[in-house]
């Protein structure tokens, strides 16, 4: 021990660095399981898609490298462009409806007492239903002949409503269904955010004589920024990639009225089995989601600072 001490004192830095390096190398083994699982679940499938997107595949043994040809043709395809605009519009409407509505629901939900569990269960109910079941429920519910909702709109409100014939009706049906299905998520997130505000804040506002709106604007809303950022990102991504529900309810129709990007993509990839164009389509789709999310995140985390 005494013999090693002086040598340590002469070269402590080099030895420490070597030891640190060895320790750092060993730490990589701990990351390995994550690397492997991410590789198999995300990276390899994604690379397969990249591989498809640059080839024209006739059969497993007969394929041709076509470079960016598929990207060019997909980007120019009027059907894809129309679906892109349609999906973006749908996402915008979903956010404009669900975020304010979810916050409003959260604000009026009880803060204490027996009402709390009752309200939580009631609000969470739509989230517990499998997506294709949600589609089926609404497909039947909105039918003008045997569906309670569809019948009521036609015979009680006296409006001419049929989602299988009218493009506008189909769009509204899918939108209302999404609002019904996913507003609870926003409400629950916002409720959690509101619950984290200590009571003295509200008491202080009361003592000041602040109105309910001022209390919301200056105490609750600033405290909700974090959860609303998450809610907006989740709801954008989910609505931009919506597939199951319109597929079940309208099948993309009538005409192309509810053919969102994902509906069109699955038609190309699984229906027509055009793997090259479908691969290019997927990557552009992926890129669009990433870009919009990045913009949202940057804007939301910068405002109000």
């Amino acid at each position: 021990m005494t013999a090693t001490l002086p040598s340590r004192r002469t070269e402590p830095a080099a030895e420490d660095r070597a030891q640190g390096k060895r320790r750092a190398n060993r730490a990589w083994f701990l990351v390995l399981p994550v690397v492997v699982s991410v590789a198999f679940t995300a990276v390899i499938p994604l690379m397969t898609v990249v591989n498809y997107s640059v080839q024209d595949i006739f059969s497993p043994d007969d394929r041709l490298f076509v470079g960016l040809e598929w990207f060019r043709s997909v980007a120019r395809d009027p059907e894809v462009r129309a679906a892109f605009v349609r999906t973006l519009l749908f996402s915008a409407q979903v956010l404009l409806l669900e975020i304010p509505l979810g916050v409003a629901v959260a604000v009026v939900m009880p803060r204490r007492g027996l009402g709390v569990p009752a309200a939580l269960v009631l609000v969470a109910l739509p989230l517990l239903i499998p997506w294709n079941v949600v589609g089926t429920i609404w497909q039947i519910f909105a039918r003008p002949d045997i569906g309670l909702g569809g019948w009521a709109v036609n015979n009680v409100l006296g409006l001419d409503y049929n989602y299988t014939l009218d493009a506008g009706d189909a769009w509204i049906t899918v939108l209302v269904m999404d609002v019904w299905h996913w507003t609870p998520l926003v409400a629950l997130l916002a409720y959690a955010g509101l619950r984290s505000i200590p009571d003295p804040y509200f008491q202080a506002a009361q003592i000041d004589g602040a109105s309910a709106w001022a209390t919301f604007r200056h105490i609750q809303l600033p405290r909700l920024r974090g959860v609303l950022t998450i809610a907006i990102l989740l709801r954008f991504m989910d609505s931009f990639m919506i597939y199951t529900e319109p597929f079940v309810v309208t099948g993309g129709g009538p005409g192309n009225a509810t053919s969102f990007l994902s509906v069109l993509l699955s038609k190309i990839a699984v229906g027509q089995f055009d793997l090259g164009p479908a691969g290019a389509f997927s990557l552009l789709y992926f890129l669009a989601v990433q870009i919009v999310c990045y913009v949202f995140f940057t804007v939301l985390t910068r405002t109000g600072r």
């Binding site: 200590p198 003295p200 804040y201 008491q203 202080a204 009361q206 003592i207 000041d208 004589g209 602040a210 001022a214 604007r217 200056h218 105490i219 809303l221 600033p222 405290r223 109000g304």
Partner: protein
Amino acid sequence: MTLVIDGVSVRRRGEIWLDDIHLESSGGMTTLLGPMTAGKTTLMRVVAGLLPPDAGRVVVNGEDVTGVSVRKRSVAFVYQQFINYPSLTVYENIASPLRLAAEFPKGEVDRRVREVAELMGIGELLGRRPGELSGGQQQRTAIARALARPVDVLLLDEPLANLDFKLREQLRADLKRMFRDSPGVVLYATADPNEALSFAAPAVVLGEGRVRHRGDPADLYAGPPTLEVAATLSDPPLNLLPGLVRDGRIECLGASFPAPGLTGPDRRVVVAVRPHQVGIERAGPGMLEFPAEIRLAEVTGSATFVHLLLEGGTHLVAHLAGTHPYEPGEPAVAYVDPARVFVFGEDGARLHAPLGAEVRPHG
């Protein structure tokens, strides 16, 4: 400005939070002193109008305001947490109660905001948001918010408890200066006896939702009527030793001293001695001696707290001036001057207090 709290009681879920509280003030500062769960915050919330009492009245300037909504009352509240509007600047935060009161012209609002900000030493920070301030600055903003609008009753609920030591000392001195000649009623709740002692304002000692005692804090410190009041006013805490009154003397852990004025049958008592009255070096003749073992010595810089374990398992803390390098496990003898002890009966009533005013250490 006058405030009368007349027989206020609050019960919740079968528990008594406040029991028949009476309190009067005709302006200036009153300290509410008591440990946690004594009912300080509950009482303040009743006075503010945030909590309706189950019985009793709150009268401000001769007018019964018990049922009046908090929005219509002339009160301001400063919390232990630093409560400010997170999205507003310091300026807007201080101005908000004035704007909502809607009785101040624009120029007056601006003048008042700058005046109280200057008073609280945050004149340079008016453009910042609360998130960009330190804890002390946030609390100064919250206090400035409360001071901006002239109110009948200003309530401060342990405003300094969440601040670090230096800021607390400084802000305490500022508050003392500001509230000394306040025309309005200032209620200041604290669990820290040193705060109550340094404000030197009339104190109300609360315990378990009841008023235990009231008076000048220095008098209560020197002559506490009960063990509970003595404990509430002692920081560091009192040392409590078991004693027995027998034949005109008090026997206490092997030591014994004359029991002044205590006659009657043998009975158990509690001998209480403040830590700074415990010595480890012999200070004079006639001292009580307790053989002990040193468990821990905490050096705070100007003082040393020595934790002792007496024979029989009783703990004793000695607060010594200066730095003393005692080692744990060392044997020692603790000395106590019998003229400096309090004696309380088993029911907590004081039987005996040291004669004359006690000399209290600074700190």
